[in-house]
Amino acid sequence: MSAAAQPAPRAVRIPELPFRTRLSIFIRMLAIQGAWNYESLLGNGIGFCVEPALQLLPEGIHSARFKSALAREAHYFNAHPYLAAIAVGALARAELDGEPPERIERFRTALCGPLGSVGDRLVWAGWLPLCSLASLALFGTGASTLAVVAFFLLAYNLGHFGLRIWGLRTGWTHGLRVATALGNPVLRQGPQQIGRLAALATGIAIPLALGRVIGPGRNLLGFVLVAVALGSLLIVRLKGRIEGWRLSLFVLAAFVLISVIA
């Protein structure tokens, strides 16, 4: 048979999750770390989030299939809480598709590491500091209280909720083949690009925020900027021997004592 005469490949039809189930999973994902502990980590949270999808199993919630699936999903799991949405979607699909339990177990184990490290770099070390610094820069320009807080919450949660919705959809669409989704350019190159923008925002935000908190007076501000440069250098040179926030607590507590006693 010639290539031209070959039938077109059959499009794989992806089943749809009912809207109520998707909504229920999404709301539960916001509480995925509700029972976080040092033994099963995010495990119970994954079971909690997948459970609405397991209710769709034809055998019902009192069946052995439902119970064994829920027990499996509530085992140890570790991931970034936002990117765990990928795992929740993929695991829900795998359980409803009736994938063999051993395959699901292997998949869970393989998914833990990447979802943790990618999420930490993208969100905790990228998106959150970027939104925070951009909001501080806005604060430094003299923006109103509402503008600063609304900007931070809208910008941050656009990424936050967007990531969770995308993760759930991607996980559900690809099922156990979801690893390919981790090659998404946003996940691979996002941390680098966000890091550059956050560095830019740091440079803008610190002097402007200092200016607004201290108020008018260039001489004082000049001294403060030099002190900040030296203080930052000291914290970097300490290389984590003491965290900056603890050091600042000791410094400021000593300052309070001096100011009260003197």
Partner: protein, 226 residues
């Protein structure tokens, strides 16, 4: 006194819950949490001012995985309440509010570790039911953990505010240093932490140094233009 502490404690509980358990929308970040506290007290601008200063310090403490980190939600409420209760911003008010928030955030981090240990105990008590795939066990464990986190935040905020607010008031009354110099020292310390944190986060990113220098030039330009 109880009526003064109650709304602050409830707010601290809700914002403390946001740090990890629900919904992690970052309403617990100092910039937001202290401002909301300021609004509650009727001083939103004061809340924003202390919130921005605490946010500079909080940049260093991001909630990475299982690491132990300070709890900023309840702490920002305590710091925000102390600073906003002094709307004329007398000398020492900002320094005392920052110290109170930092002390609370330290204890808050410890309470979160204890909560995680308690969650493990509660999970252990339900182990058989969880292994049997009990829907009730999975859901109740999640709800118990979240409720305990809410109560943890409420108790932490109530105790910290009840202890630290009178102490801060005493320090502010007896403060001897100039107001602007005091505030400059406090905010310089906070910004130093932010500078160190930004370096740790971004120094390994290719080109980040140039972006930082570019930003700094722009920031200084805008600052001296004002």
């Amino acid at each position: 006194m109880i009526l003064d502490v109650l709304p602050i404690a409830l707010l601290g509980g809700v914002l403390g819950l946001d740090v990890v358990s629900f919904p992690q929308a970052m309403i617990s970040r100092p910039l937001v949490a202290a401002t909301i506290t300021g609004i509650l007290i009727g001083q939103p601008a004061s809340g924003l001012l202390i919130g921005a200063t605490l946010e500079l310090i909080a940049l260093e403490t991001l909630p990475f995985g299982a690491s132990r980190y300070p709890e900023w939600g309840s702490a920002s409420v305590v710091g925000g309440a102390i600073f906003s209760s002094n709307p004329s911003h007398p000398a020492g008010a900002m320094t005392c509010a920052i110290v109170a928030a930092l002390a609370t955030t330290w204890v808050g981090g410890w309470t979160m570790v204890k909560l995680r240990q308690a969650n493990a105990v509660w999970a252990g008590q339900r182990r058989e039911a969880l292994e049997a795939g009990s829907r009730g066990a999975v859901i109740s464990l999640q709800l118990v953990g979240m409720t305990a986190d809410l109560l943890r935040g409420i108790a932490l905020t109530a105790i910290a505010y009840a202890l630290l607010a009178p102490l801060a008031e005493f320090c502010i009354r007896t403060w001897t240093m100039d107001a602007r110099v005091s505030r400059a020292i406090a905010v310089a310390t906070a910004a130093s932490v932010a500078g160190g944190a930004a370096w740790k986060l971004f120094h390994s990113t290719a080109g980040a140094r140039w972006f930082f220098i570019g930003g700094l030039v722009a920031g200084l330009f805008f600052l001296f233009l004002r």
